[in-house]
Amino acid sequence: MSVFLMMCWEFFKTGLFAIGGGLATIPFLKEISVKYGWFSMDLLTTMIAVSESTPGPVGVNMSTYVGYTMFRIPGAIFATLSLVAPSLIIICCIAKALKTFKDSPVVQGIFSGIRPAVVGFIISAVISIFTMALLNTRAYEATGALTDLVKIPAVLLLFVLLGISYWKPKLHPIVIIGIAAAAGILFRF
């Protein structure tokens, strides 16, 4: 089997077995690196950093990066298509089944329990995002000073952004992201 097909197969397997989103693909990519030596661990670290600092789902960014490193643009396209193919097939089947059974009392009962739980998962993720964006735990541990814990410019920016979205609720999220990126560059966050 050519290396190109093998790469597609490995990404197909990753897409099939990585459950729970982007970061779940990283252990699989580590395994690929060890097994085939297609890319080094060092490069993998760079890939993770770039994938997290560019828009788009991290898992998709990772597969594109690996594919590009191996086979340029065709590699980027086919690695990513191989990654999403399994879930595309699985989700289309589930979506079809869900449409049929949506109104059954069993399905209704199950989802009445799951929906509030998902809100809990999301808020748990939001707390982690807030901690990362607004607090500097490492500096706090080093000095113990409360003024080192809170990233004051970030908190100020947060209030400005919340103020803007409260004042103009119709403003598109893209605009808020643009303002924040500009503020980050301007004030050297």
Binding site: P55, P116, A117
Partner: protein, 180 residues
């Protein structure tokens, strides 16, 4: 044809302006998918997130497939998925080919730290809205609090938590029916 193009274009935007993927996509989904195009309800998005947690694949991609399927069946699912992955393919290809030290550039890091704060602001507004719509009685509040605590403080896999929450929801619905 027009709907398929709209699906592609909308999910392209989603892929282009989401940093972090998955849940971070919620503000954009509320704006584009729910409010603007009325492709699905907030409840359905919650269901898709939950299913995305327990099925293989990337949650952002799974959600795109679901919404696309709702709108236009299998072609819709494929087109929405291609839409959400297209920006990544273009951007990563350019960066991998041209700027090897991209993530180390000072200007990129500053912009990202700003964007992180934007994600906080957007998620805060999105989550307040979501909470008001989804947690309406004592039972759902209890499930919400327990799920939040377990997800934040323990390492229990989300797959198990979703299955457990589904089992609780089913058991409660059976009990309600027996009472009635």
């Amino acid at each position: 044809m027009k709907t398929l193009w709209e699906l592609y274009y909308t999910w392209f935007k989603m892929g282009l302006f989401t940093f972090g993927g998955g849940y971070a996509m919620l503000p954009m989904i509320q704006r584009e998918v729910i409010d603007k195009h009325h492709w699905c309800s907030e409840e359905e998005i919650m269901d898709y997130y939950a299913i995305g947690q327990v099925t293989p694949g990337i949650i952002a991609v799974n959600t795109a497939t679901f919404v696309g399927y709702d709108v236009k069946g299998i072609p819709g699912g494929i087109i929405a998925t291609l839409g959400v992955i297209s920006p990544s393919i273009v951007i990563i290809t350019v960066i991998a080919g041209l700027i090897t030290n991209f993530s180390e550039l000072a200007v990129v890091q500053s912009a990202l730290r700003g964007i992180q704060v934007a994600v906080c602001a957007l998620m805060f507004t999105a989550v307040v809205k979501l909470y008001k719509n989804s947690v309406k009685n004592a039972v759902s509040f209890a499930i919400f609090v327990i799920a939040l605590i377990l997800a934040y403080f323990t390492k229990i896999s989300t797959v198990i938590l979703v299955i457990a929450a589904g089992a609780v929801g089913y058991a409660l619905s059976v009990m309600r029916k027996e009472k009635a």
